[in-house]
C-alpha cells in the first residue's frame, strides 16, 4: 500500500490529506484516484500540479512499492 499525501487545495477537493492505496505504478494510482473520485482525478491532472515519490519530483510514470510515499503538490505559492 503506497501512502498518498495531498497538499493545499487538493486536500480540500478530496476531503482527505493522507490515505493508503494499492498501486504498482504512479500511472495506475492516478487511474485509481480518478475512478474513485473524478473531481480529485481532474484536479491532479490540472496545470502546475506535480507529483513527488519518496520526496523527489517525478515526471511521467514510476514503479511504486508498499513503502512508497506519493505526494501531489499544487503550484507552490511561496511563503
Amino acid at each position: 500500500m503506497a501512502r498518498v499525501l495531498l497538499f493545499g487545495r487538493l486536500a480540500d477537493v478530496a476531503g482527505w490529506r493522507e490515505r493508503a492505496f494499492d498501486a504498482a505504478t504512479l500511472a495506475s494510482l492516478r487511474s485509481e484516484l480518478l475512478l474513485s473520485d473524478p473531481a480529485l482525478g481532474e484536479a491532479l491532472a490540472g496545470r502546475g500540479v506535480q507529483a513527488a515519490v519518496d520526496q523527489t519530483l517525478v515526471r511521467g510514470d514510476i514503479a511504486l512499492t508498499a513503502a512508497s510515499e506519493v505526494a501531489f503538490l499544487p503550484p507552490m505559492s511561496g511563503g
Binding site: L5, G8, R9, A52, L73, P74, M76, S77, G79
Partner: protein, 156 residues
C-alpha cells in the same frame, strides 16, 4: 547554514543577536523580517509545508546562494501553520565579509522564498471563508532578476 520551519512565533531580534554573535571574520550581516500584513477581512494566514521536502528544497537554494554570493553564513526561519496579522512569517540573515554580498544574498533568498518555495498559502477571512493564494506576477518578476546572477558573480 540553517533552515528552520516552526509552528511557533519567534523573536527576530533575538535571532539576529544570536546569529551575529562571536563572528570576527564577518564584516556585514543583513537580515530581513517578513510580517503578516493585515488586510480587510483577513483573520489569519495559514502556510502548509511538506515536511522534509520543503526543507530540502530551501536548503538547496540556500547552498546555491551561499556559494554564488560568497556568503559566510545564511540562516532562514519560516513559520508554518496559522499566522496572525502582525506576527513574523519569515526571517533571513546573511553574513559576508562585505555588505554588497550580504544585501544581495538576503534579497535573493527572499525572492525565492516568496515566489517558489514549497509552501501552500491560505487566507482565512472573517465569516469563516478561506481561499488558497497563488504566487503573484510581481513575485515571479522579482525572482527573474537573479537569472543572470551566476555569470555575474563569477566575474566579481
Amino acid at each position: 547554514m540553517r533552515v528552520e520551519l516552526t509552528q511557533a512565533a519567534f523573536d527576530a531580534g533575538a535571532r539576529l543577536s544570536a546569529f551575529s554573535a562571536g563572528r570576527s571574520e564577518v564584516g556585514a550581516v543583513v537580515s530581513f523580517t517578513g510580517l503578516c500584513r493585515s488586510a480587510p477581512g483577513l483573520t489569519a494566514l495559514e502556510l502548509e509545508a511538506y515536511p522534509g521536502f520543503t526543507e530540502t528544497i530551501i536548503r538547496g537554494v540556500a547552498e546555491t546562494t551561499v556559494s554564488e554570493h560568497g556568503l559566510l553564513d545564511l540562516e532562514i526561519i519560516h513559520r508554518i501553520g496559522r499566522i496572525a496579522p502582525g506576527e513574523p512569517i519569515v526571517w533571513v540573515a546573511a553574513a559576508a565579509a562585505h555588505r554588497r554580498a550580504a544585501f544581495e544574498g538576503c534579497d535573493r533568498m527572499m525572492d525565492f522564498l516568496k515566489s517558489r518555495a514549497p509552501f501552500w498559502k491560505r487566507e482565512h477571512l472573517t465569516g469563516g471563508d478561506a481561499r488558497w493564494i497563488e504566487p503573484t506576477a510581481q513575485d515571479h518578476a522579482d525572482l527573474a532578476r537573479w537569472a543572470a546572477a551566476p555569470a555575474e558573480s563569477e566575474t566579481r
